[in-house]
Structures are given as C-alpha cells and as structure tokens.
Symmetry: C2
Subunit: 267 residues, 2 copies
C-alpha cells in the first residue's frame, strides 16, 4: 500500500502562510518530515485556488521536488493549477482528481491524456452525493471507467477513490461497510487490477472525540481496507501508530512475503 | 465479535500451580481480571488432562462459574473432561473443539448432541495438517458440517475455527490470506450465517519479536478477520490495545449502529 502524506494542505495555517508568502522553507521542512515519517508520496492540497492558481502550484511542486523525487498528488479542483503542476513535476505526478461532475470531466480529465498521467476518480454522483450501497459504488465506477475511455485514457491510468465517509455522518458506518465490499469486488468488476485510493483522515473528521479514539478508529479501519485490496492511502503521516499499521498491512497481505519479524517495523 | 479470554491456560505457570493444588483463589482473580479487561467469555485450557480429567475440569468450571455467568469454552482434547465441564457449567458452555480426527469425531462430537451445546470445529485435515488454500478450507468445512449432521447436531450449533497460522511458519502469511478469503465466503458456502472463531495468539507465537511488534501484528490482522465476518476471537485480554481494536471492529462493522464516539471505548 502506497502511503500518501496529506499533511500539506491549506487548512494547515503554517502551510497557508507559506503559500501566501511563497516561502519554501517551512514546506521543505514539512515534506522532509513526511518522508522520514514513512510517506511514499506527497499530496499537495492548496485549496480551490481562485487566484494565481498556476503560479502557486508551480511553486509548490518545485518546492516538493527540491526535497524528494517521490510521487506528487495534485489535489485541487483548479484545472490550470493541475496543468501547471503536471508541467512542473518532471513526471511522477497524479491528478487528484476528477469525478462525474461535468466541470471536471471537461477540464480535468483530459489533462490525464495530455500528460499521460495517473488520475484519481472519485466514486461520487455528478452532484457530489456519495453512493449508499455496493451496487451504486459499482455503477458509478463503471461510469468513471467509461468517461476515462471516452477521453482516450488508458484504463491502467485510473485510480478509483470510493471516498471514506466520516463516522459521524448519519450513514457513515453503513457507507464504509459498502465501501469495503466494493473494494473487494473491484478487480472482478474491472477485469484487471484497477487501483484504488482512500483518504483515511475523512473517517475521523469533526469534533467530539479524543485523538486516541480517532487513531483507534483509523488503525482499525485501515486493515479492513487493506485486506479488501486498497492500493493507496492518503493520511496524516505524523500519526505513527497508523503508519505502523499501514506497513503491517503490507506484510500481512503480501502474496509473496517470506515473513520475518524484521519486515514489521515499529517506526 | 465475542471476545474470549484465552488467558486461563495450563502453559501459564500460575494456572498450572492453581490446578495442581486445586486452589481456586488465583483462578478467581484471573477470571475477574479477564472480565474487567473486556472478556465476554472464558476459555478453560487445562491441557490434555491424562489424570483426574473430569474432576479437574469440574473444579475449573465451578471456579469460573463462581465469578461469572459468562460463556465458558471447554478447551481440551479430553472427552471425559469436556463431559464433566458441560455437566458443571449450568448451560452456556462451548466445546472447544473437534476436528476430522477420528478420535474426536467418535468421542467429542457426540457430546454436543447430548448436551445441546455449541461446538467449535477446527478446519484441519484428520491428521491435523492445515489447509493451504481457500478451496481446501471450504472442502474441510463441508466435511465438518457433514460430520455434525451425521451426529444429529443442529448446524446452528457449529462454530468453525480456520486456525490462524503463526506468521513465522513458512507459509503463515499465505495461509492467513486464504483464511480471510475463506471467512468472507463462509455464509455463502453454508447458506446460513455459520459462526466462526479464531485464536489470535497463534499469529504471533514463538520468539524473535518484541511485544510491541506482536501487538502491532495482532491489532492489524484482527480487523481483517472482523471485516471478513469473524464472530468470536480467542485472545490474551490483558493486551489492552488489541481489546480496544476488537471493540472498534464491532463499531465499524455493525450493520445497525448509529455511530457515536461514545461507542468507541479506549479502555
């Protein structure tokens, strides 16, 4: 399972400040810390970027690239920002992402073709509603695959994100149960090992719980997704016990591991 | 998921000492502590019991019953001990267990019929070899079901235990992966919600790893089994983070929960 740090987001005041002052130093420090904490890839989430979108994303991608050759995820709804990010990333960038929302199909999806880039497709209705059962997850996924095909994109470039629901949502638990069944049936549905991604932080979003309870929920749900075949998890990588869990998931689900306790790291 | 404490076993020197001196006090203390730690049921494992089998099991069951009305698992290969345990347990005892081994089919399986008791069936070949892939798990389970039927036992009384493999076994990881697929297909195979049990301590048996790594492996594998539908886990209940995980599994896989953070306990 690829661990993607989603720590670099504009909702973090230090990141917002560094972006608005174009100060690379705190961002470089953050990226280094993420890599040390176990990140295989870095998600750059500068928000929707109404002004200076391309220039800001170029600044951010160059800043990350100055620290690491690891994969970058371009996490914004701004097509110009994604385009600039793809140009600046020297390959190894993933578009994060598109959905059936017409705006995204028109402006974001074609960038995957143009830059031959991987792209994450959100399993959401065009109006951003979430599906409620396994059948709905499957139907939307087929539409994402059809749209990608229409846009001339190699299906191997697609990564689906079934969108983890916050537990505090009225149907959050039921949604996440359906998500697990869906992940388990994905290879059969696609007829090839279609990759999947999930944002774990969504699970415990909101107030009303201690950090300890949130980590417990995250480190319990992650192995469930891993066993169902999840390929990529977006998470806050400074949550050590959750990173340990992600690595342990790899060891326990590996089709080829000759087990050794040394392969299980407690970071 | 029912949490069964497997702490009361003869391999624990204090337990062995209490058994040989018929001293109930340390055992009562142990059972109380297990219940406080979150045990829903108590597994009594006095070993194979060559001498005084019935008398020892009667003593143990009465000792546990003096502390708690919770379900007792009678975990021994001695049929006379199981029989005595069933008689002493005032209902709510589970036979743990039988397999396709002829000795057990003849002497242990019929006790389930006679006492109308639940019985755990180990998914093992008659010579105690473990199955290696999902198909073998399924075939053995069908044989367990057939043997139970032949013995006149209501299939609803059967609980299958696919036997978690130690990670350090040559094929341990692969075996446990097959176990997960098997658990997921169990309801479809049986045509009804056939219950399952698994001994988590097996996973990390042996030397060569820190307690921290062992707990990491256990709390990572348990949610995988829970998502696949595991009904009952045998475990050392003084491993707090694993008990927390078992409870969190229940919350995350519940078909009916209206989620509240209060339902997630960090014991």
């Amino acid at each position: 399972m690829i661990i993607v740090a989603d720590n670099m987001q504009v909702t973090n005041p230090d990141v917002a400040e560094a972006i608005s002052t174009r100060n690379p130093e705190p961002l470089e420090k953050l990226v280094k810390a993420c890599i040390e904490a176990g990140a295989d890839a870095i998600d750059i989430n500068p928000g929707p970027l109404k002004k200076n979108a391309a220039e800001i994303m170029t600044f951010l991608v160059q800043t990350v690239r100055g620290v690491t050759p690891n994969t970058i995820l371009l996490d914004t709804t701004s097509a110009p920002a994604i385009e600039a990010g793809l140009a600046a990333s020297e390959g190894r960038a993933v578009i994060n992402g598109f959905s059936l929302e017409p705006e995204k199909l028109v402006h974001i999806l074609p960038l995957a073709k143009r830059f031959d880039a991987d792209i994450i497709g959100y399993v959401l209705y065009p109006d951003s509603r979430v599906p409620t059962d396994e059948t709905e997850f499957l139907e939307i996924t087929l539409e994402l695959l059809a749209e990608a095909e229409k846009a001339g994109i190699d299906p191997g470039k697609l990564i689906v994100d079934p969108v983890v629901a916050p537990l505090i949502w009225e149907n959050g638990v039921a949604h996440n149960r359906s998500l697990l069944s869906f992940l388990g049936r994905l290879p059969e549905l696609a007829g090839y090992p279609l990759r999947s991604a999930a944002g774990l932080s969504n699970l415990t979003t909101g107030r009303g719980a201690s950090a300890e309870k949130k980590r417990l929920a995250e480190r319990t749900f992650l192995p469930m997704m891993a066993a169902a075949g999840l390929s990529m998890v977006l998470m806050q990588v400074f949550r050590k016990e959750v990173v340990d869990t992600a690595r342990a998931c790899d060891v326990l689900t590996s089709p080829r591991t000759i087990f050794s306790w040394a392969s299980l790291t407690v970071l």
